[in-house]
């Protein structure tokens, strides 16, 4: 009966404050559901986009996940290094456009130290192919110069021009410092939302320099080489940890991968970063579903609130429903009246939630990006999110049948004279 729609609308308007609060609760919980879904996707994308444009990661033979862990995420250490000769040979491969040598092992107050060369700043990309950018200062040019990631700078309150001392090895306890050879910070990288933010970058020659007077992981007794003297020595590395490789033509990637694996001069391995990252995400991504479950519960709580608010209003409305019965409303009309209200509040709440989230992202997006490296773009719900929202509305519809059924039963039992 079409007359029911304006009736339901006017009835709802009459209770607009209570229903408005419920609408807000539904809006907030669906905004949260959608927001968490966005963050989840963004974190996943951020994770799989910690490196981009790199076609192969090459290192000593180990498991692909292990290689990614230390080459890209700087977690753990390499069990074996690869020879510098192999890196040079790789760079000369005609299919290879560029290489970035990586050498790991030292740390600075818990942050990993990465030794590389100028190619890193030129060729390393992340995200959708964004290049590294300096937030302050310049790249390292001399031996004892360093460029630090955004998070290192923020956490340790470092500025360009500050001096820092590196420690031998990873971890935070009982590390021996390279105290005799301090570094000066020449640059701070802009935030990327990738492990680059947590990295202290030095040159490959610097890595050699701080270990000149070391042997087997410890300073050689009786031998000290002063910082000023290191340039007299050959600072070309003998081994490095890994090489990132960019190809001239991506189609050649499997051929080059096989060539590297088959090279008899040194047992090496080349992995495709996308494949290995997906594999790695399987391991670390289990927490993402927990997030979704939590936000699902928030929606359920919001729904329960809506249903209980409508049910509570029924007590006061029994007289009104009896009057409607007296002028010809069927019990089913009464059911529809209540069910429509719940469904409408649910629909409006979800739409308001999408709008709220979009406004929040517009307002807070730049802050989130700068502070946490999570870039959330205000956008219309994607297909997956739309499905999620549809399920939410469906759940709301089912939930709003409850007060409808209750009203149906009440109007059957009450007839024209509610026994209040």
């Amino acid at each position: 009966m079409s007359f029911l729609f304006p009736l339901a609308a006017k009835s709802a308007w009459n209770r607009r404050y209570t229903l408005g609060l419920m609408l807000l609760a539904i809006a907030l919980s669906s905004a949260m559901l959608l927001g968490i879904e966005r963050v989840r996707h963004e974190v996943r994308d951020g994770f799989t986009q910690s490196v981009s444009g790199t076609d192969l990661v090459v290192g000593a033979r180990t498991s692909p996940v292990q290689l990614m862990l230390y080459a890209i995420f700087r977690i753990g250490g390499a069990t074996n290094n690869m020879g510098w000769d192999s890196a040079l040979k790789l760079a000369k491969n005609p299919a290879v456009a560029w290489t970035i040598p990586l050498s790991l092992g030292d740390s600075h107050r818990g942050f990993p130290v990465l030794a590389t060369n100028f190619d890193y700043f030129r060729h390393f990309h992340y995200g959708d192919g964004q290049a590294l950018q300096m937030a302050e200062g310049r790249e390292f040019a001399d031996v004892f110069e360093t460029v630090i990631g955004a998070e290192v700078a923020q956490r340790l309150h470092y500025r360009v021009g500050d001096h820092i001392v590196l420690s031998h090895g990873m971890g935070s306890m009982h590390l021996t410092d390279h105290a005799d050879k301090p570094f000066v910070i020449t640059g701070i990288l802009a935030r990327t939302g990738t492990p680059v933010d947590r990295t202290v970058h030095i040159g490959l020659d610097a890595m050699e320099a701080i270990h000149l007077d070391w042997e087997g992981g410890a300073p050689m007794p009786g031998l000290t080489i002063k910082a000023a003297q290191v340039k007299k020595f050959n600072l070309t590395p003998k081994t490095i940890t890994a090489v990132l490789v960019g190809l001239k033509n991506r189609a050649a990637v499997f051929g080059v991968q096989r060539d590297i694996g088959d090279d008899s001069s040194e047992p090496l391995m080349a992995v495709l970063p996308g494949v290995a990252l997906d594999e790695l995400w399987q391991v670390v991504g289990v927490g993402e579903n927990a997030l979704l479950v939590v936000s699902g519960m928030v929606v359920i709580v919001g729904l329960a609130g809506l249903v209980s608010a409508i049910l509570a209003s029924l007590g006061e409305r029994r007289r009104e429903l009896a009057v409607l019965r007296s002028v010809g409303a069927r019990p089913f009309d009464i059911f529809l009246l209540l069910a429509l209200e719940g469904l409408a509040v649910m629909l409006a709440g979800v739409i308001l939630g999408v709008i709220l989230l979009t406004l929040a992202l517009l307002a807070l997006g730049p802050f989130l990006s700068a502070q946490f490296g999570v870039t959330l773009h205000p956008a219309l719900p994607a297909a997956g999110e739309l499905t999620l929202l549809l399920w939410t509305i469906l759940a709301g519809f089912v939930a709003s049948l409850l007060p409808g059924l209750r009203a149906y039963r009440l109007s059957l039992a009450d007839g024209l004279t509610p026994r209040l």
């Binding site: 007359f3 409607l324 007296s326 002028v327 007839g415 024209l416 004279t417």
Partner: protein, 237 residues
């Protein structure tokens, strides 16, 4: 029998979940255009009688015929339709839907019933004109029509409810203690208005009240607790 507006025969009605009948009547008739005063203290089966006349419930045994139409043979939805087509109800209080305007309240039966709508249109140029005419004759000035129903006095609300019961000229008007919330002066005034309007439209009036002072003004008086064989039993229960 054919000219009886309401005819109940050998009725026995038991509410679901109860063991003894609430209402047991041999005979209850209201003729067309007749105005009947039904007195019934609480427990006399008054609500049950109204539910049966309105076709909200059907008796387990016996027959209920309204305007010659036996209600027990109609499906529930048909009874709902039949009720709004032919019967106008006025309740004790809280008659009006708070979120509808006064005019929307009056026109409610015309929304649910095409029959009432057509009969209302026969009374005036359009539905609003019909509602206006009724409100005027029930002593509600046009200045009041735009107010929210909650801003009206109880007496005014009851008169709006009377207009709703009367619009579209239903054959039967059932008033369930419509004056109990009014003071005695206004009770008389309200009764005058509603009796007059029912005479005008030719409706039968079933006026239920426990106030015997109003009884003198009716053609016929029925004491429900005397004709209901279960009334006493329920009072003791």
């Amino acid at each position: 029998m054919s000219n009886a507006a309401i005819a109940l025969r050998d009725i026995s009605f038991t509410w679901p979940g109860q063991h003894t009948p609430t209402l047991a009547l041999e005979h209850f008739d209201v003729q067309a255009r007749e105005q009947v005063f039904v007195s019934g203290p609480s427990g006399s089966g008054k609500s049950t009688l109204l539910a049966l006349i309105g076709g909200i419930n059907t008796a387990q045994s016996g027959s209920v015929a309204i305007l010659g139409q036996p209600l027990d043979t109609l499906a529930a939805a048909k009874r709902d339709r039949f009720r709004v087509d032919h019967i106008g109800f006025i309740f004790q209080q809280f008659n009006l839907i708070p979120y509808l305007s006064i005019l929307d309240n009056v026109l409610l039966p015309c929304r649910f019933s095409a029959y009432r709508r057509e009969r209302a249109l026969a009374q005036g140029a359009d539905l609003l004109a019909a509602a206006h005419a009724l409100l005027r004759s029930l002593d509600l000035a046009p200045a009041l029509w735009t107010r929210a129903v909650t801003q009206l006095s109880i007496g005014q609300q009851q008169r709006v409810a009377a207009a709703r019961a009367l619009i579209g000229r239903p054959e039967i008007v059932v008033a369930d203690e419509p004056t109990s919330a009014l003071d005695s002066d206004r009770q008389q005034g309200f009764l005058d208005l509603i009796q007059h309007e029912c005479e005008q439209t030719g409706a039968s009036l079933v006026f239920v009240s426990h106030d015997q002072r109003l009884a003198q003004r009716f053609d016929r008086r029925i004491a429900l607790n005397e004709i209901n064989r279960c009334a006493h039993a329920e009072e003791n229960a």
